[in-house]
Symmetry: C2
Subunit: 173 residues, 2 copies
C-alpha cells in the first residue's frame, strides 16, 4: 500500500516546495508546456516548467523500464493505449478511464478520478490550484512517449475536480 | 516493479532540482539536520534542510498509514525495529540489515545496500555526492518516529558506497 501513497506524498511535497517560493496562485486551470494562457506569474510558470521537466525525465526512465508485449508498436494509437493502461497502472494503480482521438494526431485521455487531484476537495473553489498538480504528469506522458519514439505536446485541463483531461498533440512529421 | 523505481526516479529528480541552483559539491560525507561539519555551502545546507523537511513530512504521513500490529509499542526499541522492518519494506522493498543500540538512546541502523545510493558507482570517488541522497531519508525516519511519539535527531554517514548508517539519537526527556 505504501508504494502508492509514497509517490503521492512525495509529489505533494515536491509541488509544495516548488510553490513555496512563489505562493501567489494564478487564476488559470491549464497546465502543461506553455503557461501563457493561465495567467500564472513568472515564478509559477518556472515552477510548472520545472515540474514538467521532472515528469519528463521520470516518464523517459519509466518508458524504458515498463515491460512491453510487443517491442514495436504498429500504430500511434497502440502507444497511446499502452500509456493509458500500463503506464497509468504502474504509476497510479488504475487505468485511464477513456481515450479519444480525432485520428489526426490529437488524443484526449480522460481520468475521472485523477489520484493527484483527489486530496483536494471537489467543487470549483480549488480549480485554480489544479495546474500545479498536473504539470508533473503532463511531463510524465511526454517523457514516456518520447522514449517510445514520439514527440508530442501534452497539456491538461480540469473542468470539475477530480476529473482530468490530458491532451496529447503529435505534430505530423 | 514500477512503484519502487518510480519513487527512486522521483527522488533523484528532486535532489537534482534542488541542487541545480547550487551545483558546487561540498567535501562532506554526513547528512542530516546539521550541515556545519560537512563543509557544505550555505545553499547546499539549505537544500539538505529542504530535503530533510520533505522527508520528515512524508515520514509523518507514512507513520500514520503503516499498519501496526500493536497500537502501542512497549519500548523505544520496538519502535526502532518497526522502522527497520515495516517502514523500510514499505519504502525500499527490503529490510534494514542491522540495528544496534547503546541502550542509552542512540541507535545505529545499517543498510548494506541502500537503494538510493545504488545508482552511484561504488568506490570513494563519489562519496562527496552522498549527503544529498541521504537527507530525505533522514527526515523520513525522523518524521515516522515523530508520528510514533518520539522526537529524535537523525543523521547519516557513508564510509563505503553503498553501505549507509543512520544514527538516531533520542534525547532523554
Amino acid at each position: 500500500m505504501a508504494d502508492t501513497v509514497l509517490f503521492e506524498f512525495l509529489h505533494t511535497e515536491m509541488v509544495a516546495e516548488l510553490w513555496a517560493h512563489d505562493p501567489d496562485p494564478g487564476p488559470g486551470v491549464s497546465a502543461g508546456l506553455r503557461g501563457e494562457e493561465t495567467g500564472a506569474t513568472k515564478g509559477q510558470k518556472m515552477s510548472l516548467s520545472v515540474l514538467e521537466g521532472m515528469g519528463f525525465r521520470v516518464g523517459q526512465a519509466l518508458g524504458e523500464r515498463l515491460p512491453r508485449e510487443t517491442l514495436a508498436f504498429r500504430e500511434e494509437l497502440d502507444v497511446l493505449k499502452f500509456l493509458c493502461k500500463d503506464l497509468w497502472v504502474a504509476v497510479f494503480q488504475k487505468q485511464m478511464d477513456s481515450l479519444r482521438t480525432n485520428h489526426q494526431g490529437t488524443y484526449v485521455l480522460q481520468d475521472n478520478s485523477f489520484p493527484l487531484l483527489l486530496p483536494m476537495a471537489s467543487g470549483l473553489q480549488y480549480l485554480e490550484e489544479a495546474p500545479k498538480f498536473l504539470a508533473f504528469t503532463c511531463g510524465l506522458l511526454r517523457g514516456a512517449l518520447y522514449t517510445l519514439g514520439i514527440e508530442s505536446v501534452v497539456t491538461a485541463s480540469v473542468a470539475a475536480l477530480p476529473v482530468c483531461k490530458f491532451q496529447v498533440v503529435i505534430p505530423k512529421s
